[in-house]
């Protein structure tokens, strides 16, 4: 009876036994222990361990190079227009901003060779990423308004700076209001 039982067990667990046996041989005899295999060791034998190499070394950090260099395709001129301002977390053009955008439109319509870059900015409240998105919407809302006033869309470029380029750094509502702005920059293409 026992004989049969043993036989059955042999057949059933034969394959598992093989995998066990393989494990037995490989695991404890591993001479160098890597970080990943640093499980608890039987305390009887002292285990040698070399502290693994750093994943990101100082040498690697020192070598990092960005190939891209700043080559602006246009030059920027000092803005002759006022900034327009926005409410907190909003990107619609406020009534007080409309005359300013109108004056920008009038000037651009008169000066046909000029192009404008609209920068969208935010105050420091809120997260950097969401503010970058919000600044994008502020610049785009301003561009859309200029286009509605008759300026060709191809003459208007936009960029968001989010909260990354504040005009004012105090934590006051007055300061935050100054930062929630769209800024107009006249640009000249270098190729022209």
């Amino acid at each position: 009876m026992k004989k049969i039982l043993v036989l059955v067990l042999v057949l059933t667990f034969g394959s598992l036994l093989i995998s066990c046996a393989q494990r037995k041989v490989v695991q404890p005899q591993q001479p160098t222990v890597t970080q990943q295999e640093t499980k608890a060791k039987a305390p009887e034998g002292k285990t040698e361990q070399k502290v693994p190499e750093e994943k990101i070394t100082e040498q690697q950090i020192a070598k990092i190079e960005t190939k891209e260099v700043e080559t602006l395709k246009y030059t920027e001129e000092k803005s002759i227009f006022e900034d327009i301002h926005f409410d907190f977390d909003k990107y619609d053009i406020r009534p007080d901003a409309k005359p300013i955008v109108q004056s920008v439109a009038d000037w651009l319509i008169k000066n046909k060779s000029s192009e404008v870059l609209i920068e969208g900015h935010c105050d420091e409240r809120g997260t950097n990423e969401y503010n970058l998105a919000l600044g994008d919407r502020r610049a785009k809302a301003t561009k859309d308004y200029l286009v509605a006033l008759g300026v060709a869309s191809s003459r208007i470029d936009i960029i968001s700076y989010g909260e990354e380029k504040p005009l004012c750094t105090e934590k006051t509502e007055e300061c935050w209001q100054k930062n929630r702005r769209a800024h107009f920059v006249l640009v000249k293409s270098k190729s022209k």
Binding site: K2, K3, V6, L9, V10, F13, L16, L17, S19, C20, A21, R23, K24, Q27, P28, Q35, K39, A40, K41, A42, P43, K46, Q49, K50, V51, E54, K55, I56, E58, Q60, I61, A62, K63, I64, E65, T66, E68, E70, T71, L72, D89, L117, R125, G126, T127, N128, E129, Y130, L132, A133, D136, R137, K140, D157, I158, I159, S160, Y161, G162, E164
Partner: protein, 439 residues
């Protein structure tokens, strides 16, 4: 006949033992204590402290000064690592009865209430050679003994490795003490990515050339960072590979382009772009540069982050009138809003298991919250100052975030229940967008 039977019964024993070993090794989803001994027969699998237990009793631990020139520094690093986890009570060295040279005797420790003792020695030659031993007072025996060698400049990673081994021996879980945090630091108006240890030490500046840099995100293997940067009046998405120390611009267009997240396989990334006029979410393949649009709406869609199983994307949208956290399938289908409290919820990030999402929510000031991906279980973790950009540690037990509570915005860490909040970047350094490395 008798003899033969004996042999067979021995075989039988071996089989049984092997079977037990198979059961033990392959069946439990997370073996709490992987044995390295002969075939794992001694399957005690003792877990000294069950970190998943809600009624966790702290484990009293004694850690000796390892002696020599660097011994105190090493044991202090180990002590700081273990203490921050909140699952150990450190018993001060002044109370120890046993001198470091005496051999371990449990009778010296039970009166002090100490349950675990860490002893060690350091040899300083060209390299540091450190021997560490871990003793179980209750059972009166050594449960871990290891020798480590490392260059002297690697004293901190060396000590963190010892702390990891101790932590794993006692909890059955891998420690995170060798993990690092990537962040954005600002120095005289110039932003750059910095990398530091999880405790804020060994901070290094990468020296990237782009003008404004935001949102570094790790690849799952910890060898790459994807980030957003402005250069030439354009927002581009850049991939930094630490192995070949190269930076590659992987996407740029007119408008705003912001990552996002690398998918776990490292071959695709999700990002937000206004290339078609409106900020929508996209998935791009790094293999063949194909781009798939995931959302199409007139609102802001930003900060997509992929769940650990790659199945879902959490993101921020203001489609409901204010920025809120949404979750959808990775193909953009089945969009569900998960935050309904507060009018400004941003910066979602998944826990390593995918069972929680941490984010920053505005309640007059910005605070860190966790929520379940189905929108239940909202819990506030911070109250002071403005707290942003949260992300989990690789074991899901800690959170790093930025805060301006002490004036200049800096990087903080805390436990996932909000305990032990501490600043880890220098007081005067402006730092934000921290991201915990995956390993």
């Amino acid at each position: 006949m008798k003899k033969k039977l004996k042999v067979k019964s021995l075989k039988f024993k071996v089989l049984l033992i092997a079977f037990c070993f198979v059961l033990f090794t392959f069946n439990p989803p997370e073996p709490p204590f992987t044995k390295g001994g002969l075939g794992g027969i001694k399957a005690e699998a003792k877990v000294y402290i069950d970190i998943a237990s809600p009624a966790l009793k702290k484990l009293p631990i004694a850690i000796y000064d390892f002696g020599g020139l660097s011994g105190k520094e090493i044991s202090d690093i180990i002590k700081d690592d273990l203490e921050f986890t909140g699952i150990f009570t450190y018993v001060d060295r002044a109370a120890y009865i046993e001198s470091p040279s005496q051999s371990f005797n449990p009778k010296n420790w039970t009166p002090l209430g100490v349950e675990i003792v860490v002893k060690g020695t350091v040899k300083e030659g060209k390299e540091l050679t450190l021997t560490a031993s871990l003793f179980d007072v209750f059972e009166g025996k050594e449960i871990l003994k290891k020798e480590y060698t490392a260059g002297k400049e690697l004293i901190r990673p060396l000590s963190h490795t010892v702390a990891n081994d101790i932590y794993e021996a006692l909890t059955g879980k891998a420690g995170v003490f060798r993990s690092r945090i990537a962040l954005i630091g600002e120095d005289r108006g110039v932003t750059d990515i910095y990398i530091m240890d999880w405790d804020g030490k060994r901070i290094s500046r990468l020296g990237l050339k782009e003008n404004i840099i935001l949102s570094p995100r790790w690849s799952r293997d910890g060898t790459k960072l994807i980030y957003s940067a402005e250069m030439n009046r354009q927002w581009g998405i850049y991939l930094l590979n630490f192995l070949n120390t190269a930076v590659k611009k992987v996407f740029s267009s007119k408008g705003t382009n912001i990552v996002g997240d690398l998918l776990p396989d490292g071959n695709e990334f999700v990002f937000s772009s206004s290339k078609d006029g409106n900020l929508d979410l996209y998935m791009m393949s790094l293999k063949n540069d194909t781009i798939k649009k995931l959302t199409s709406s007139q609102s802001i869609e930003v900060s997509p982050t992929i769940s650990p199983d790659s199945g879902h994307i959490a993101f921020v949208s203001d489609r409901g009138g204010s920025p809120q956290i949404y979750v959808m399938h990775r193909d953009g289908s089945d969009v569900r809003r998960i935050t309904f409290t507060g009018s400004y919820n941003t910066s979602p990030s998944w826990s390593p298991k995918g069972d929680r999402i941490v984010f920053s929510g505005r309640r007059e000031t910005n605070q860190i919250f966790v929520i379940n991906p189905d929108g239940t279980g909202l819990t506030q973790l911070t109250i002071q100052g403005n707290n942003e950009d949260p992300s989990f540690s690789p074991d899901g037990r800690f959170i790093t975030f930025s805060s301006d509570r002490d004036g200049v915005k800096g990087i903080y860490i805390m436990r996932i229940n909000g305990e032990s909040q501490k600043r880890i970047t220098p007081k005067k350094m402006r730092a934000f967008c921290p991201r915990w490395s995956p390993n």
